[in-house]
């Protein structure tokens, strides 16, 4: 399975850094309740340099970006601009220092044209007060677009542009503000190969003009193709800052992953799986997943991992019938599955979604109501609700799942995250599901409750159910799953048997090469 990992790259042009960096961050820390998002991170960029920023999901890249653009105020640390200490207390400060951030979510207005978007809030005043000098607006926009080689009419409405062109407009907007430090968050994530080449050409042009670029990427090839310097973050800390010539892809992966092994979720792995419960063949959906093949057997916990946006949730939704399937088939207990979520639920599939508050629970209703909502048809075939039976059934589930609530009439909203998750699981137990699909089952749940959730999931498979589990936390997959599939760009990039199931292998398969 270890694919050849020789990125095609030429030695990058060695830059001779000026003595003082354009921007330097020293000891930046940022804490949110319960999470240390950034822990003593130091970081510097020089003019004309492309500084690659790497890290797993949740390593602190986005927090660092938000600090750079002034959206977050760090708890500690200092900024230096050309050697002078400066404060960044808000977006205005960042802008004044020439820092521009291009997020994956664009800051463009769909029904304004390109020129209006580039100069939004900085319109050129016309002769009459309040009016805009439209001629100058378009002339200036033209000038900026020419600078980046974008030959498109400045009167084009932005919503008619493709992602790549919108990205160009974002870059133009940044340059029009005289940005000298440009931060880009996975700019090639949504681009085709040709568009990517154009973007690279522009990055090199900006570089030649002395712009400093901070470039967040998940693709090894571009890290080595564009990067002059590579910084790796892990769990909010900087774990390495290296030159491309001194490292290779394997080392970087090790740096990104290399966390201490955490064995709190150990379980007896499944040695003799039962019948095939879920069989997915060539599944292609409108949401961007392509030719997905996977199987889950009774008694197995199968992981589904990959980077955020690689199509994990989309696979779950397509299996459940929540998104339109273009081609391919899903068999449950050998029977071809068709129809929407309702049919899926009736055929014994349970989808426990990522955001349980919005998708899995009616927060203001009671624990009992939530537990029984999918089982009403089975419990009351005549259609008449019997409060006594419902109460007994709900209390029974509360006990079995050890949900910490005084009684089943309490509203779900007041429960902790872990207990809410148990209610969602209980709901499907009551509905007698046989195949459980978990999407990030431990998101927003504290460590103690995590172990309990995993014990619960283990209990499900020990009782003969089959489980497909999506998780961004590779350590969870490694410690809990019997097997795992790794997604990349909407496809299954590979399957890892128990023996090969390591974090490094997951990252390797999941990264773009």
């Amino acid at each position: 399975m270890t694919a050849a990992f020789e990125p095609a790259w030429e030695p990058p042009p060695m830059v001779t850094p000026e003595p003082t960096p354009l921007l330097e961050l020293r000891g930046i820390s940022k804490t949110f309740p319960g999470v240390k998002a950034l822990d003593d991170v130091s970081f510097a960029v020089w003019p004309g340099e492309v500084h690659m920023l790497l890290g797993e999901n949740g390593a602190g890249k986005s927090s660092l970006m938000k600090v750079l653009c002034g959206a977050y105020r760090p708890d500690g640390g200092a900024f230096f601009h050309r050697g002078q200490q400066v404060e960044i207390t808000g977006p205005a400060d960042a802008r004044r220092l020439g820092i521009a951030v291009i997020f994956q979510e664009f800051s463009l207005v769909p029904y304004l044209d390109i020129a209006q978007n580039i100069f939004l809030g900085r319109e050129f005043p016309g002769r009459i007060p309040g009016t805009v000098d439209t001629r100058r607006l378009h002339a200036e926009a033209r000038r900026v677009l020419d600078q980046i080689g974008m030959d498109i009419d400045t009167r084009t409405l932005v919503h008619t542009l493709g992602v790549a062109q919108q990205q160009m407009v974002e870059i133009a907007k940044a340059l029009s503000q005289n940005a000298r430090i440009l931060v880009m968050d996975e700019p090639t994530a949504a681009l085709s190969d040709r568009e990517t080449e154009r973007l690279f050409a522009m990055v090199r042009k900006l570089q030649a003009d002395g712009v400093a670029l901070v470039y967040i990427s998940h693709r090894m090839a571009e890290v080595f193709e564009l990067g002059d310097r590579i910084t790796v973050l892990r769990d909010g800390r900087k774990v390495g800052s290296v030159l491309p010539a001194e490292t290779n892809a394997d080392d970087l992966v090790r740096l990104m992953v290399g966390r201490v092994v955490d064995t709190t979720y150990g379980r007896d792995f499944c040695t003799a799986p039962g019948d095939v419960v879920l069989d997915v063949r060539g599944l292609t959906a409108e949401t961007g997943i392509t030719d997905v093949n996977l199987t889950v057997r009774a008694g197995e916990i199968v992981g589904l991992c990959g980077l955020v946006g690689s199509g994990r949730t989309e696979v779950a939704r397509a299996i459940f019938g929540a998104d339109k399937v273009v081609s391919g088939e899903v068999r449950v207990f050998g029977k071809l599955r068709s129809g929407g979520p309702e049919q899926a639920a009736r055929s014994g599939i349970a989808l426990i979604p990522e955001s349980r508050k919005t998708q899995g629970l009616a927060l203001i209703r009671s624990v009992g109501d939530n537990l029984l909502v999918s089982a009403l048809g089975r419990l009351f075939p005549s259609g008449v609700f019997q409060p006594g039976l419902a109460r007994r059934e709900a209390d029974d589930l509360v006990q079995r799942l050890r949900i910490a609530t005084p009684n089943s009439r309490r509203t779900v909203k007041v429960l902790s995250g872990g207990n809410q998750q148990k209610v969602v699981i209980g709901k499907w137990l009551a509905a007698q599901a046989q195949l459980f699909i978990f999407d990030e089952p431990t998101r927003g749940i504290d460590v103690g409750a995590k172990a309990e959730i995993f014990a619960l999931i283990d209990g499900l498979v020990k009782a003969g159910a089959a489980v497909l589990m999506i998780s961004s936390e590779q350590s969870e997959i490694v410690h809990v799953c019997d097997r795992a599939y790794v997604m990349r760009a909407g496809r299954v990039a590979g399957e890892l048997a128990r023996a090969d199931l390591t974090e490094e292998n997951i990252v390797r398969l999941g990264m773009h090469q």
């Binding site: 977006p91 205005a92 207005v109 029904y111 304004l112 309040g130 030959d151 084009t156």
Partner: protein
């Protein structure tokens, strides 16, 4: 690359023909079915009657572009008309009356905007509340009676002509051009699609978005005050239910005109056509002696029809 993305101008013509189709169809149907529809006095009448609606529908377009709504605009128009009539009758001054009407309109507009922008109350609910308040006040200050005795100079605003063109039509043309300039050639106008399309981008650009939003609603109130002059002149009185339900026609005209209720996508010229379509429909049904209740139902069908045509065209 430029052949892939269509320019702004041709894009609009390509995607908003639903309203044009509907308007032409209505004109043809009534020209055949309704006797006297094509007579010059009648067509002139359609234009005259459409002017008041246009003055509500133009600001309504801007409000809807912010992903907002103003249900109170008809009631505020009514109240402004009653107040204007009372002031004109007691002082004899048209200017004072107009000033009072505008003041009432702007006051309600600012309240609407404040509720929506600063308190975060959904526009539907906020303006439903002010609808009730304005309608109630109109009945209170008029004591439920028509305010009569409107002097001739005020009535002439509706019935008079200037260079052979009815004064309301001239006012409507001026107002339309002003709105066109405002939406497409000022900073304020630039921020309106941004309020609906990407409010975060506006904030990041350092613009006080709440202030712009309040101004948009205030403009709606101002236009209701201005329309009150035409309405009072036309009715020769200030009547406490004169513009009851006119917000329905205004919102319908905007919707028929192809303004979408999402992402700041609006089209001012479409609203003009939408107003004409609603005006032609009401006039034609009148000529066919169909009651007002049937007209409301037909306007409803008109909205759905225009949007249906747009939906058909946008989906390949």
């Amino acid at each position: 690359m430029s052949d892939m993305a269509v320019s702004a101008r041709s894009f609009r013509l390509a995607t908003v023909p639903g309203v044009a189709v509907v308007l032409v169809a209505l004109l043809l149907v009534f020209a055949i079915a309704a006797p006297g529809f094509t007579s010059l006095p009648n067509l002139s009448n359609v234009l005259m009657q459409s002017t008041i609606l246009l003055m509500l529908a133009l600001p309504m377009t801007l409000i809807i572009m912010t992903e907002g709504l103003d249900l109170s605009i008809g009631a505020v128009l009514t109240l402004a008309s009653v107040v204007l009539a009372l002031v004109v009758v007691s002082t004899g001054s048209m200017l004072l009356g107009l000033g009072a009407g505008l003041a009432v309109g702007v006051a309600f507009g600012v309240v609407n905007g404040g509720l929506v922008a600063h308190l975060g109350i959904p526009p539907f609910v906020a303006t439903l509340g002010t609808l009730g308040a304005a309608q109630g006040l109109a009945l209170i200050v008029s004591d439920g009676q028509s305010v009569v005795g409107i002097p001739r100079e005020v009535r002439m605003i509706y019935s008079g002509t200037f260079g052979g063109i009815p004064i309301p039509v001239i006012i409507a043309i001026v107002v339309y051009l002003a709105f066109h300039g405002l939406l497409y050639h000022t900073r304020f106008g630039t921020y309106i699609p941004a309020l609906g399309g990407n409010r975060e981008a506006l904030k990041l650009a350092g613009i006080r978005d709440t202030r712009v939003l309040v101004a948009v609603y205030a403009l709606g109130g101002f236009m209701a005050g201005l329309a009150a002059l035409l309405l009072t002149a036309r009715m020769s009185s200030g009547h406490p239910t004169a513009a009851l339900g006119m917000e329905f026609d205004a919102i319908a005209a905007v919707a028929v005109g192809g303004t979408s209720f999402e992402r700041g996508n609006g089209w001012l010229f479409g609203t003009l056509l939408g107003v004409l379509a609603v005006g032609v429909l009401r006039n034609g049904l009148n000529l066919l002696a169909l009651p007002s209740s049937v007209q409301v139902a037909c306007i409803g069908v008109l909205v759905i029809l225009a949007l249906f045509i747009d939906a058909l065209r946008s989906k390949p």
